[in-house]
Amino acid sequence: MNRCAAARRAGMLFVVAGLMLSQACVTSRVEDSREAVTGIAGDESIVIMAKSYHLGNETEDNYIACVEEALSRGKQGLNVIPHRQFVDSLFPWFEPRTAPAETGGLPKLMDRPGVKDKIREHGVRYIVWLDGDTEKVAGGGSLSCAAGPGGGGCFGFAWWQKDADYTASIWDLDELESAGTVSADVSGTSFLPALIIPIPLIARTQAAACKGLASQLRIFIVAGDAEQKAT
């Protein structure tokens, strides 16, 4: 009987946790700004790169990997060249110090020995430069845990808020110009209530920013042509 009651209590806790999990709040805003007509052929590919840390950027490697994966996934996935493979094959022209910071530097870059051929070999039509990061902007609450011979537990409540702000600048390597930008601004608040057992209710802020940015990027690049003509 006691076992049944304990199992019921545990079940209730999971239900409550599940309900609260759905309430860990995330708000997001994804926008784009177009400067040129886009479009991509089946044999063309894109590269996702982080803007240089020499310029103060701190885009995380796992965020780049997430966007790469999200863009290449599914039937309508784009050909995405892994950024490290691309950077190595064009060494040293896309290192943090040497990569062009503006599209104005592209003609000179293309004139360097072997660069144009290597880019053509990869079939790279667009370079997407990511700028931004995810950071904790606020937090509070109090949580304490204790353990004794008879058992242990936690009591209290903690919360924290993370903001994920990313901007993707799309460069068209055929036209040597900027095609536009896509930005994702996501804010998420996570909670950690504890009544004996702490129940983390994590807002997946960075994942939401990755998903939102990747899906808008795909629309921007693939449907850009039709979108532009329609307007």
Partner: protein
């Protein structure tokens, strides 16, 4: 476990990095490169406030790095040890790389999630008559965010990035024509471009062919 390692510091050993083959035209010169003793076993220790001690052992990384880089940059390269006599071989230029300064920072110092490595190399270039014709500082920087694998991997990555940065900088600023003019002019430059003396270093750097353009 990784938290414990971070709290007490760590010993990080770097395997020699592999520099990708650069997209450049090689310079038609025979260059001799003298690899100093320190490039075969460079160890740097950083004590952080709070009894945290980090040590990085670069091992042979610098030796391998410069050998690779110069083989990519020049048609022909002869690698000399610290005691080898350069007068028994013929060459167009003798390059002696060294380290002026090495520093790194860990997240507990900077209150960020990043490890950063700074390396300031110095390249001394001698013409075939033994005159010092180039004395150039090369300041490189690498930064890597802490990963789930812990700080060791991030520090290793930052060191590799700093070395790649040095290679990129040397290639980016290297002007082969000016390098050849510098060699043929035989104009000596001061030996005393001391580490940390930025004015002298800058003055020496201005006399070098490592002033090329940029992509901007």
């Amino acid at each position: 476990m990784s938290l414990l390692a971070t709290a007490c510091g760590s010993n990080v050993r770097l395997d020699p990095p592999t520099i990708p083959e650069p997209l450049i035209n090689t310079v038609p010169l025979h260059v001799a490169v003298r690899i100093p003793v320190e490039f075969h076993g460079f160890v740097h220790k950083e004590e952080v406030i709070g009894n945290e001690e980090w040590t990085i052992d670069l091992g042979r990384s610098n030796a391998v790095f410069f050998e690779q880089l110069f083989r990519y940059m020049f048609d022909s390269v002869t690698v000399l040890g610290p005691e080898d006599d350069e007068t028994v071989i013929s060459y167009d230029a003798l390059v002696e790389p060294s380290i002026d300064a090495f520093e790194f920072s860990v997240p507990s110092q900077t209150k960020t999630d990043s490890f950063a490595v700074w390396i300031r190399y110095r390249l001394r270039v001698y013409d075939p008559d033994g005159r010092l014709v180039g004395n150039w500082p090369v300041s490189a920087y690498g930064k890597s965010l802490t990963t789930m694998m812990g700080g060791d991997e991030a520090l290793q990555r930052a060191a590799v990035l700093a070395m790649r940065d040095a290679a990129a900088l040397m290639i980016f600023r290297f002007d082969p024509d000016q390098f050849m003019r510098t060699l043929s002019s035989g104009t000596e430059v001061p030996e005393d471009a001391a580490p940390g003396n930025d004015d002298k270093s800058a003055a020496a750097a201005r006399t070098t062919p490592m002033e090329g353009g940029s992509n901007e």
